[in-house]
């Protein structure tokens, strides 16, 4: 019941992620610091490669930076023409219909799964850039996509108040979890059949509504039954990003309030309903 509060940011957290081993937690926010990494603009995305050698960040100034994880050494900006052969990306995927709001690599790196502002999901071939599968299960913008630990399925969090589970290969819809508020992030527990969902009243509406109806809790659902079985309060604003530690023994939530809440199993195990 006593979570560890990590206060490394003064601005809303945009994304948090663990590295493959789970011994590092990356947090990025709308402030100039990437927790420990440097950036000049609001940072929206962060990703570490599988062996935690390199870290890639994406910022609001449309720049993408590559870093050495261990030393924090800055390699280069992906937009820098001198760094990429012929100044051309490996493959360009045209996407004119609806803005991509989140994307992940498929299980074996042979495809990219992208969620769109319209609620659509597309699976693009990484080689040809062609759309392999297109589905539309969500009614509104997809805010987040997270793979399961074994990468066979992924969970999407959408503005339409739901989170859904899809198969990574076929994109077949498996499960749906309903809440009353837009879901900003969702994560799959690596060792249990649990999904945790975060979100709440949209940040822009918060000042106009009472905090008690914001519903800023982390909500736990059973994967198979689609039923909610517990909630954990903690953040004072909407939760923007969620991540389970790869061993499943703890999770972190990053909120609009700028805090990262680190909860170990011993913190939330005694929680009523869990």
């Amino acid at each position: 019941m006593k979570p560890i509060l990590l206060q490394g940011h003064e601005w809303p957290i945009t994304q948090i992620k663990y590295n493959g081993k789970g011994d590092l937690l990356f947090t990025v926010a709308k402030d100039p610091i990437v927790n420990v990494w440097y950036s000049v603009n609001a940072v929206w995305y962060v990703h570490a490669d599988w062996n935690t050698k390199h870290v890639l960040t994406g910022s609001a100034d449309n720049s993408c930076h590559l870093w050495d994880c261990e030393t924090g050494k800055y390699f280069f900006d992906l937009r820098d023409p001198s760094q990429i052969d012929n100044n051309e990306p490996y493959v360009k995927i045209p996407c004119n219909d609806s803005k991509i709001t989140s994307a992940i690599w498929g299980p074996q790196g042979e495809c990219i799964i992208a969620g769109h502002k319209s609620g659509e999901l597309n699976q693009y071939s990484a080689k040809s850039g062609k759309v392999l599968v297109n589905i539309k299960e969500h009614l509104r913008q997809i805010n987040d996509i997270r793979l399961s630990r074994d990468m066979t399925m992924f969970v999407t969090a959408s503005k339409d108040n739901t989170a859904k589970i899809f198969d990574s290969t076929t994109l077949e819809h498996q499960k749906t979890f309903w809440t009353e508020r837009p879901a900003n992030s969702a994560a799959l527990s690596p060792n249990y059949d649990h999904v945790v969902l975060g979100g709440g009243q949209e940040a822009m509406d918060i000042t106009t509504t009472s905090t008690r109806i914001g519903k800023f809790e982390a909500r736990f659902f059973h994967l198979a039954f689609e039923e909610e079985f517990g909630r954990v309060k903690g953040n004072f604003g909407p939760i923007n990003s969620f991540a389970f530690q790869p061993d499943g023994k703890s999770y972190s939530s990053g909120g609009e309030d700028g805090y990262v809440l680190f909860l170990h199993a011993r913190h939330y195990a005694g929680h009523p309903g869990l």
Binding site: K2, I4, Q108, L139, D150, E180, I213, V232, K233
Partner: protein, 810 residues
């Protein structure tokens, strides 16, 4: 599934206004096969084809160019009326038009045909001109080289004009002979030539008030006028005006004018003397319109509008989960209404009202009233009153229309001059009478004739408000103070118009009339400013209607009154009084001897509205909207508060017709988040939380009054123990069944999911080698698979740990 557009503009959708001003912002989902009553211009599926055609015809109209030609050719004539819809068929006067006119019309047509030909030729023409032009020139010049294209003299055109110019002829000007502007005046004094000039002067003086008289005719016989005259006005509107106002004009004792439209003579002459028996309409079997009352579990139905009005559903209310009966997209454009006995569901459309009913909610009737906004059913469900702000015209009242629900025919139209509260027409409890109040007048109409009762309205100077008793044909109305005459409340029996009780009141600011549901009591809430005091004092004047001479008792209240409500089937009433935050509720009981007793008062209430159970005894006190949705469930038999609860930001409370359940809801019309309806038992136990996306409105389907006699009801109440045993057993059974079902459902879900996971795992294992290759032989599948490569480092950080107590969890 919704389409992409609907998703692409969610912001726009959210900003849609409340019903009434609502415009569909997003494109509707393509729900083929469902009736889609849409706005103007959109294809009409379920609505009124007939009307749409008429409107289309009117819109198409004649070309302006053609119209000028007509006016030039046939002088003062009526231009084709755009309101063709309302004119009786055959009112276009072609058949009886004089031959001369006909000829002139033809000439116009010919000229036009010529000019068109000319235009066509000019279009086609190069330097040499077209064949049409060249040919006559050739004839004139007598040039033999040119072949002759002219028709031989005996040539008869075998192409009809319709075929040739069908599209043009369709728009040809309609004959109008100007007789619309002519009136006939009877009972004019018969005079000789010597006094004719004087008579003309008098007539002119009287009739030029209504418009310019362009022509007059005084038929004569034996040197004297015949006693009737013809006058022609510049426009038909003037003629109509003259008929309306000069008919019955008293010139002197012997002469009272009778004024008629000239066209009316023609109209009424052609009416056949024989009465045709109306054709018997085939009986339409609509099935059992009250089937829902036969439901074995005695469940009730309710309608739900959600997705900001895009979808409407009907549900069975069930303790476990609502059971959907019917769901349709765009069933209504604004909201829905049930008829008072629950037989019909009324939906609102731009073009009018549709009624639905029966097991499948088929369309039963429709009423075409463009722009309809408000409706009201008669209590007997025989008549429907509709209001539209669009349709009214001077001579054809259509703002308010009364319809016969069974036949679908319009019974009568009314103007709506004053901005009164809806319903403007109030119905008597049996639907025999309906009444409306205008300045100093109370007009009572009777059914089925829809005429004024005794052909005259009641003159009541200063009448402020009136109300029918729900238990008999008695009207209560009140009149404010006027100089020395005190304010008074009057009870009037109808149709006799006998005043059965008059009560004078002094220093009155305002009165409100509250009838008890059975009509046993009337409470007049009187706000007064007694002399010598400051501020307003409120009295409740309680009329006991069932007793001789209607005795009146008074309850004086010192505090501001927030709400008042009678117990529907009893003799208690509840009052909310005080100023926020110190609001109290008081329950009073009207005893048989007339004594009014305060049973109980609770202070510190968070409430602004009183909702009695339709069966009485139980009451919900609700603090709606600004009071955050506080709820108190009270049993007034012993005045205990059964439960205190809250439905945050609740905007509505609805009892089911049996008084077993209450629904509280947060409507999207008043609050934009957490739109949901919650179901409670009458004791205040929460049964269900039903979240619906942009939920708007829930309405219970009313039930007709019970057929059981008072004795039978008493008997049932006596044997309640016997019945409750049966019901309890039933409940237990269904509960165990439900839990069994739940377990079963979970089991299958788990199995399905396991199956899927197994498949996915297999695939994952298959890909293992590939993955190893991609990662240079490093196995990342297990967290500790590469333990050997790890180097352990111990780092010490100085961190502060902040501990936040999280408080109680929900």
């Amino acid at each position: 599934m919704q389409d992409a557009e609907n998703v692409a503009v969610p912001e726009a959708a959210e900003e849609r206004a409340e019903p009434g001003q609502q415009q569909p912002a997003a494109e509707p989902p393509p729900d083929a096969g469902l009736p889609r009553p849409a706005g103007p211009g959109a294809p009409e599926a379920a609505g009124t084809e007939a009307v749409s055609e008429e409107v289309a015809a009117a819109e198409a109209g004649p070309e302006p160019q053609v119209r000028t030609e007509v006016e030039a050719a046939s002088g003062p004539s009526k231009s084709p009326s755009p309101s063709a819809a309302e004119e009786p068929p055959g009112s276009h006067v072609e058949p009886r038009a004089p031959a001369q006119e006909e000829a002139r019309g033809k000439q116009v047509r010919d000229e036009r045909a010529d000019s068109r030909a000319q235009a066509a030729s000019e279009d086609a023409g190069g330097n040499e001109g077209s064949a049409a032009e060249a040919e006559p020139r050739a004839l004139e010049n007598g040039d033999a080289d040119e072949p002759s294209f002219s028709d031989p003299e005996d040539f008869v055109d075998d192409v009809s004009e319709e075929e040739l110019l069908g599209d043009v002829l369709k728009d040809r000007p309609q004959e109008a002979d100007g007789i619309d502007s002519v009136i006939v005046v009877d009972n004019v004094p018969q005079v000789g030539p010597d006094r004719l000039e004087k008579l003309k002067n008098v007539i002119h003086k009287i009739f030029s008030k209504f418009g310019k008289i362009t022509n007059d005719f005084y038929p004569e016989e034996d040197g004297k006028t015949k006693g009737y005259i013809f006058l022609e006005y510049a426009s038909p509107a003037h003629a109509v005006d003259a008929v309306k106002n000069a008919d019955g004009y008293k010139l002197d004792k012997q002469h009272t004018f009778r004024v008629n439209l000239f066209t009316d003579f023609d109209k009424y002459m052609t009416i056949s003397d024989e009465w045709d028996i109306p054709e018997k309409q085939p009986f339409k079997d609509l099935g059992n319109l009250r089937y829902w009352l036969e439901e074995a579990e005695c469940r009730d139905q309710y309608s739900v509008i959600f997705e900001s009005g895009d979808r409407t559903s009907i549900f069975w209310n069930d303790v476990k989960d609502p059971v959907s009966i019917e769901e349709r997209a765009r069933w209504t454009e604004t909201y829905v209404r049930w008829s008072p006995k629950g037989t019909y569901l009324a939906t609102f459309h731009q073009r009018g009202i549709a009624l639905w009913g029966g097991e499948k909610f088929k369309q039963i009737q429709r009423f075409s009233h463009q722009g309809v906004q408000l409706i009201d059913f008669s209590p007997c469900e025989r008549y429907l009153v509709t209001f539209s702000p669009l349709m009214d015209t001077q001579d054809d009242p259509q703002a308010i229309i009364i319809w016969d629900i069974l036949t679908g025919h319009k019974k009568r139209g009314f103007h709506c001059e004053s901005s009164a509260h809806w319903p403007i027409f109030k119905w008597s409890h049996d639907g025999k009478f309906f009444a409306r109040m205008t300045l100093d007048t109370l007009s009572i109409y009777e059914t089925p004739s829809m005429g004024l009762l005794d052909k005259k309205s009641l003159k009541i100077s200063g009448i402020k408000d009136f109300s029918w008793s729900p238990g008999g044909n008695i009207i209560a109305f009140w009149v404010p103070e006027d100089k020395d005459i005190p304010a008074r409340v009057t009870l009037m029996q109808l149709p006799t118009r006998q005043e059965i009780r008059v009560r004078n009141l002094f220093n009155v600011v305002d009165c409100k009339l509250h009838w008890q549901k059975n009509g046993d009591y009337l409470c007049v809430k009187v706000d007064r400013t007694p002399k010598g005091t400051q501020g307003v004092v409120t009295n409740f004047e309680i009329f006991r209607m069932r007793e001789k001479q209607v005795p009146v008792d008074v309850v004086e209240m010192k505090e501001t009154i927030i709400a008042f409500a009678w117990e529907p089937n009893g003799s208690k009433f509840a009052v909310l009084h005080g100023e926020a935050p110190r609001i109290s509720v008081s329950f009073y009981h009207v005893k048989n001897n007339g004594k009014i007793e305060l049973i109980k008062m609770f202070d510190k209430q968070q409430a602004n509205t009183i909702f009695w159970s339709p069966q009485g005894q139980f009451v919900v006190l609700a603090g709606l909207r600004s009071m955050n949705g506080a709820l108190a469930f009270v049993d007034t038999s012993d005045c205990t508060v059964m439960n205190i609860a809250e439905h945050y930001m609740a905007s509505d409370v609805e009892w089911d017709p049996t008084g077993r359940y209450v629904v509280t809801s947060v409507s999207w019309w008043s609050h934009k988040v957490d739109n949901a309806y919650w179901l409670w038992t009458f004791q205040g136990r929460l049964l269900q939380k039903n979240n619906k996306d942009r939920f708007c409105q829930l309405l219970w389907r009313p039930r007709p009054p019970t057929l059981l006699s008072q004795e039978q009801i008493k008997q049932i109440k006596k044997d309640l123990k016997k019945y409750s045993k049966i019901f309890e057993q039933k409940d237990r059974l269904s509960q165990s069944k439900a839990s069994k079902e739940l377990v079963e459902r979970r089991r299958t879900m788990m199995e399905d999911f396991r199956k899927y996971r197994k498949m996915a795992q297999e695939l994952y294992m298959e890909q293992k080698n590939e993955r190893l290759e991609l990662r240079g032989g490093v196995d990342t599948d297990e967290l500790d698979s590469n333990v050997d490569d790890w180097e352990e480092e111990t780092i010490e950080f100085f961190v502060t740990e902040e501990i936040i107590p999280l408080g109680n969890q929900e």
